[in-house]
């Protein structure tokens, strides 16, 4: 329900001009034509599938699922209200924020999709390339533009990459999907090293700003950490460099085995040195051609859209005192902002018992009001299935917290054991082997006690319902992989993964645990950490120090034979 007292605020983000609007409008018409040709039979399902995937439309267990792009996780309040409206009108009143910062709707009808796309186009949104074997949504650090850690806001670059990759004629039928992330800090909040390609804003020895490019990271059946492709690419060369990587991938990737067609496999096969050589060749040629050079004026023009809001000055920089519950929430969910008197507030969509990452239409509408009233009309979606209000005044935090409590989104658990990532799993997904959401719920309920959560500290649990790893279990401090063993759901534990700048791939512990045992097994593992940890160690640190053995012994002790 729109709060009549709160005016929608113009956001500090990219705004479509007539070219962007026409592009999206024509794309909608194109897809409407493709839907008509499918319904008439002019297109078979086999022919239609890549076309609908490139407009974000999957056929899942119960219905079609539509994945709406949220470029670099940034949404305006107007867009949030439109998402709420679409979920209400065309779906079942809720949506799911994903590990690639998009929004998924699970009960969509094919015949409604053209109308949905038109409504999205009205608020400068689309579903272009959110699936298919093409460049997918560009994701970014959720604190971009607000944190003092960054060299600069990486989102202008993300927008430039988004435009360059949109319906790129050479790269819409790649061997597999291609995911790109951008960042501008040493801290990696976007899991950059697990992406097919990542771009980090850096400064070179001479103090000049440029880009460090990584490639070959990935989740899935065979996880890899990305390799450095170039330590420093000049600003004006970045699109030429990225195109060079894509070109080598499109030309040289296998096409004979769908499980071996990501760029991570190509780089692992030929080696990063050979990959760099091939990329360098294409890059040099593109530079000579000059058509992909990024002029400084263009970078500045796009950057201007993301200019920070006018921050108030003279604000008190102290945290308000609003009781112990509020203080607990601040401890985990509030982060330092670059402007004095301001803060970054994380809304965890992870209240124990809830479906991780889900929000109802009503909740989305209230969040839109919060965005307008407290966060210059802007919110960010994180790859951990949470939301962030990037620019809030510290003095407004108690009011925000009170509103979040009404919404049941006030769990003070960002980064704690109950802040779990879970894919939709077998409840929704056609590819899944096991359910993930109920496991997340049972673990969150078990560890609900806040004192206990704080005692445990930072512990990232990530749950995938199948080997495709959309729940990022390889990057979990504790990862959980659902498997199907003779028709029964089992859950394997994976320990020691990290999706941050200290990226590591988790190690599988051993045979899986049953649905009713996995939460207990996690508890036994956590107890080993609590017993063994040295001062200041997170779970991940203790695991890295002592290894798997004690965790494994404890986990299987008392477990029913799997």
């Amino acid at each position: 329900m729109l709060n009549a007292l709160v005016k929608p605020v113009a956001p500090n983000m990219y705004r479509y001009d007539e070219f962007d609007a026409q592009f999206v409008g024509e794309r909608v018409n194109q897809f409407a034509g493709q839907v008509a040709r499918r319904l008439s039979g002019e297109l078979t399902e086999d022919q239609f599938k890549p076309l609908r995937l490139m407009n974000g439309l999957y056929l899942q267990l119960h219905a079609y699922m539509l994945r709406i792009a949220v470029p670099y996780g940034t949404l305006s309040s107007k867009q949030m209200r439109k998402l709420a409206h679409i979920a209400r009108t065309y779906d079942k009143n809720f949506g799911h924020f994903t590990t690639r910062t998009n929004l998924q709707l699970n009960w969509i009808k094919l015949v409604d999709v053209p109308a949905i796309l038109r409504e999205l186009a009205d608020v400068e949104m689309h579903c272009i390339q959110t699936s298919g074997n093409c460049v997918r949504n560009i994701t970014a650090d959720q604190f971009a533009g607000a944190t003092d850690e960054e060299i600069e806001d990486p989102r202008p670059l993300a927008e430039i990459i988004r435009q360059w990759s949109s319906l790129h004629p050479e790269f819409v039928f790649l061997a597999r999907k291609f995911k790109i992330a951008v960042g501008a800090c040493e801290s990696d909040r976007a899991a950059m090293l697990y992406h097919d390609m990542a771009v980090q804003v850096v400064k070179n020895q001479a103090g000049r700003t440029g880009y460090k490019v990584f490639a070959g990271g990935g989740m899935g059946r065979t996880p890899y950490i990305a390799h450095v492709m170039s330590e420093f690419v000049e600003r004006e060369d970045i699109l030429a460099y990225l195109e060079a990587v894509l070109r080598v991938y499109n030309q040289d990737s296998r096409r004979d085995n769908i499980h071996k067609q990501r760029i991570k496999i190509l780089i692992n096969t030929i080696g990063p040195e050979e990959m760099r050589k091939r990329v360098a060749r294409e890059f040099e040629e593109l530079k000579r051609m000059g058509t992909l050079q990024l002029p400084r004026e263009e970078l500045d023009r796009i950057t201007a859209y993301f200019a920070p809001p006018k921050f108030e000055t003279g604000l008190a920089d102290t945290m308000p005192d609003a009781g112990p519950d509020f203080a607990n929430w601040v401890k985990t969910n509030v982060h330092k902002h670059k402007a004095p008197g301001y803060a970054i507030a994380t809304i965890t969509l992870k209240t124990p018992g809830q479906v991780p990452g889900d929000a109802t239409s009503e909740q989305m509408d209230v969040i839109a009001d919060l965005m307008d009233e407290f966060s210059v009309g802007e919110v960010r979606v994180t790859h951990e299935q949470n939301l962030v209000l990037p620019h809030v005044r510290k003095k407004d935090l108690p009011a925000i917290y009170a509103k979040l409590k009404e919404l049941d989104f006030a769990a003070p658990n960002a980064g704690l054991i109950t802040d779990i990532i879970a894919c939709p799993g077998l409840d929704y997904c056609d590819l899944a082997n096991a359910r993930s959401i109920p496991i997340a719920q049972s673990i969150a309920k078990k560890f609900e006690n806040l004192d206990r959560q704080h005692e445990i500290g930072e512990l990232k649990i990530k749950i995938s319902g199948c080997i495709n790893a959309c729940g990022h279990h390889h990057a979990g401090h504790i990862g959980i992989l659902g498997v199907d063993k003779k028709g029964v759901e089992f859950y394997q534990l994976v320990l020691g993964g990290s999706g941050a700048e200290d990226a590591s791939i988790g190690t599988i512990m051993g045979p899986g645990f049953g649905e009713h045992e996995i939460a207990d097994a996690v508890e036994r593992v956590v107890n080993v950490y609590l017993a063994e940890r040295k001062d200041g160690e997170r779970f991940l640190d203790t695991y890295r120090r002592i290894g798997m053995e004690k965790f494994k012994a404890a986990a299987y002790q008392g477990a029913v034979a799997a």
Partner: protein, 105 residues
Amino acid sequence: MAHQNHGLQMLTANRLRDGDVLYRKGSGWVLMLADGDVYPDQASADAALAAANAELVRNEFVAPYLFEVREDGGKIQPVKEREIIRAAGPTVHPHTGKQAGQINA
């Protein structure tokens, strides 16, 4: 609980226009698993799948496939968890899907 599986199968697909889950009955489709045909042997199951595949050109449904069921206390139940969920709806949103009577006519 002990159950009998004599290789019973059913045939399912998704309706093209809305993605709704369908179950084969006769030469048509129904929305609820309980109303669908059960094939007692491989020959009848294969015949049903072949008939459905031949009808794909009608562009009414997609991706037909066979799955195992068993008789459990007089009721027909899928063997695999996936098909149980597909027939009923998501376990985490019990107020949605066929289990909640939400049928797209």
